[in-house]
Amino acid sequence: MGREVSESCVDGLLTEMVSTYCNRFYSTKPELAARRIEAIGYQVGHQLSERYTMDRPRFNDHLEAIKFICKDFWSELFKKQIDNLKTNHRGTFVLQDNRFRWLSRMSIDPSENGELSQDNPEAMAENKAAQTTSMHLYFPCGIIRGALSNLGIPCAVSADMSNLPACY
């Protein structure tokens, strides 16, 4: 029987982990912080994939494993399935989630960064927001990479974010 975890706890843990690694441990080396966060995600994904594939038949090929990631694994982690899966049939897969749960409650206060640049405060704030948010995506990337590696697919996972959740 699955044990459940409070969602706000996970959100809080993720933001705290990212801010600790980025601002306290490796405040001058964002790449190193990203690598460490990704490594934590890798271990989590490694263990989760073992658990979530327990009652399933074995996968025949990579596509089946990717489908598992898109459907079951994604639902377990993010309570929804992937919205769109694209592939070039040469080993590259693009998974699109239109409402990524772990970012759905994130926003940046523009006034906070407005003073940094007098010329173009808005662009600056947006840039800073994108940077901060991308730090939060290394952990889920690591989870996916860990899960796929454990299923026998060594891979690289990167995240791309078009825009932050915002009011329309």
């Binding site: 327990m54 399933r56 038949p57």
Partner: protein, 165 residues
């Protein structure tokens, strides 16, 4: 009676092997487990032979020897579980059930945040987790002190009672 269980990693590296016999035949059991790896490889690479068990995690009876029957199980993550038993008429459903619970115990053991993936599971705490489902009393603190032969015999009794069900 179950005489031996083993967990073998995806590169055929032994992760956990435990025999439950009092006799000094650990080497023989290790040999049996080692041989069964080839059978598993064969089953997986030539799925035609195994027919309906295609892609199922439970691989069924791998091979019978004079005294033992060897069963196999292959997870999605290419980790192999091997069971050696002396019971000659075992129902497949029982073995399936055993492997399912063993898999759950294995998952719990590797979910320990201090476990390094690919490393052996021989540490006492892992041992306890792995076997606690076979022997519920091992979970209790009072049994943590129990070591060596006491655990072995009590566990083997427990397993034989499970296998007999």
């Amino acid at each position: 009676m179950i005489v031996c269980v083993a967990v073998v990693g995806h590169q055929n590296n032994p992760l956990y092997i435990q025999s439950f016999t009092d006799a000094d035949d650990a080497l023989k059991l290790h040999h049996i487990v080692h041989c069964s790896l080839d059978v598993i490889d064969e089953r997986v690479n030539n799925p035609k032979k195994s027919g309906p068990t295609l892609n199922e995690t439970f691989l069924g009876l791998l091979y019978p020897t004079e005294n033992y029957k060897v069963y196999g199980y292959l997870t999605n993550t290419k980790v192999k579980f091997i069971l050696v038993t002396t019971d000659l008429d075992v129902r497949d459903a029982d073995v399936r059930n055993f492997f399912r619970r063993f898999h759950a115990a294995y998952v719990d053991a590797v979910s320990n945040p201090f476990h390094v993936p690919g490393k052996e599971l021989h540490k006492p705490e892992n041992f306890r987790i792995m076997l606690s489902f076979l022997h519920p009393r091992l979970q209790n603190a009072e049994c943590r002190e129990v070591k060596g032969k006491t655990i072995k015999t009590s566990v083997s009794e427990e397993i034989s009672s499970i296998a007999a069900v």
